[in-house]
């Protein structure tokens, strides 16, 4: 790895080390499926409702049910209050999350219906969309929605010249030395190991990018274990 300014992580973690994770399935009793996923100080909850008949009717698809994802940060999730309701950032994240989850769910058995996934972030320390997707994947499984495979999500990136896994807020937003911070949210499918979500923000060479993809796949294997353990232990905790 290239020598740079960022030789030690602020958090004391190793470069490829994920934050301590915790997951719990079945946290919202009235929902068809629900889950919580926590990584360090970032916490996400996800709720699944459906399949249910989609209204208005003209949005229905007679061939298949559709998946609808809504992501949002709670107003008190960061130190500056976030105005309640959707904004440009949350609408984009909802859409890319919807694409990522749609790639693994199979709603062909539920024509004219919708499955709604609600992702909310009560406390944020970077990596909220990936934490939300980890929770959402568990909530979908909990709701018994047919899935071709599971998905796990992680943020990887580059701080100055150093490649890292699972950026926290200090690394994601507050680090501006040298080459600054590059943030790459990734979703990896559990069986085929394909990339279902990919975004990037920063400055990174093509060989470095390839390396971060390998780091993401490794981290997602660890996350998958935590998700599966929580799913076996519904209603319980997996700390």
């Amino acid at each position: 790895m290239a020598k740079g300014l960022y030789t030690k992580r602020n958090s004391g973690r190793k470069m490829d080390e994920v934050r301590p994770m915790s997951a719990k399935v079945g946290i919202v009793p009235s929902a068809d499926g629900s889950a919580m996923f926590e990584t360090g100080k970032t916490r996400a909850i996800a709720v699944v409702r459906g399949p249910r008949t989609l209204h208005p009717q003209h949005l229905q698809n007679a061939q298949t049910g559709i998946l609808r994802v809504s992501y949002g940060m709670m107003p008190f999730s960061v130190s500056d209050r976030i105005r309640p309701g959707p904004n440009r950032r949350s609408e984009e994240i909802s859409k890319v999350s919807e694409w990522a989850l749609s790639s693994v769910v199979d709603l062909s058995g539920f024509p004219n219906t919708v499955v709604d996934v609600f992702i909310q972030i009560p406390q944020a320390d970077a990596g909220t969309r990936v934490a939300g997707l980890n929770a959402a994947a568990m909530a979908l499984a909990h709701a018994g929605i047919p899935m071709k495979e599971m998905v796990s999500a992680i943020g990887v990136g580059k701080i100055d010249k150093t490649l890292v896994v699972d950026l926290d807020k200090y690394e994601d937003s507050d680090y501006h030395e040298g080459e600054g911070s590059t943030d790459i949210p990734v979703v990896v499918t559990s069986r085929t190991k394909n990339v279902a979500l990919l975004q990037l923000d920063g400055k990174i060479s093509i060989p470095e990018f390839k390396e971060t993809m390998e780091m993401a796949k490794k981290a997602c294997n660890e996350i998958l274990k935590v998700q599966m353990e929580a799913l076996k232990n519904i209603g319980g905790s997996n700390e």
Binding site: K95, V96, S103, T192, K193, L198, G202, K203, F209
Partner: protein, 272 residues
Amino acid sequence: MSNFIIPNLQKEKIEAYLSEGKRLDGRTVEEYREIIVEDGVSENSASAVKVKFGKTEVYAGVHLAVATPYPDSPDEGTFMTSAELHPMASQQFDIGRPGINAIELSRVIDRGIRESGFIDFKKLCIKEGEKVWQVFVDIMAINDDGNLLDVAGLAALIALGRARMPVYNAKEDKIDGFSKDGIPLNKEVTAFSMTFHKIGGKIVADVGKDEEAISEFRLTIAIGDNKGEPRITAMQKGKAGTINDEDMETILKLAEDKWTEMFLKIKEYVFK
């Protein structure tokens, strides 16, 4: 963009052609349409340009205003990209508030430009903590024949490259026309974005409207120059398909080749 429905017959025909490495309009899978750049869309703004890839046409304009800086960057100008996918450009667009397609398009373009370091935000400071220049890029779709993302991205870049710097009159707190100078840019890091779609097992560049409608996924990559080496500054995967290792290799290789091939030409357009 994504909710355009085309007949199965057309889909099968496109895929059958692609399986032999051909496209309905005669291009190869890696080939772009002819790129046309024109000035003079509006003489009232800092710049306003027209960019066409074949029949896909986009206008982009730059406007500068004096604003208060963000508290966390008191000595830096600010930047905002907006896009309107107007119904004049396509049957699929509606009047009203920007929908998810317009939001995604403007945010992907915004990130590509912002993260490359192309705009010198420090030089857009008028008085630290009080007044900075706010740079707006506004994108209007005129005709959608596919790949609006890349056409709009290039239009935004060219509009910035050709924008005139306004003159700020501090005494009267107003803007007195334009100077002869451009806005402060780091020309050496110019980044532009390229979107690749997977259709019928092939990775395809600069898609037409029908190709775009039937693709499994798209991957947009913005690449800038780092002392002769390509450097990725933004990426976005779109649609519900997934990317396997082989596709990723193909796309990265193609992106690098295309960047090398097109970079100098793009720079010429931007800094005419």
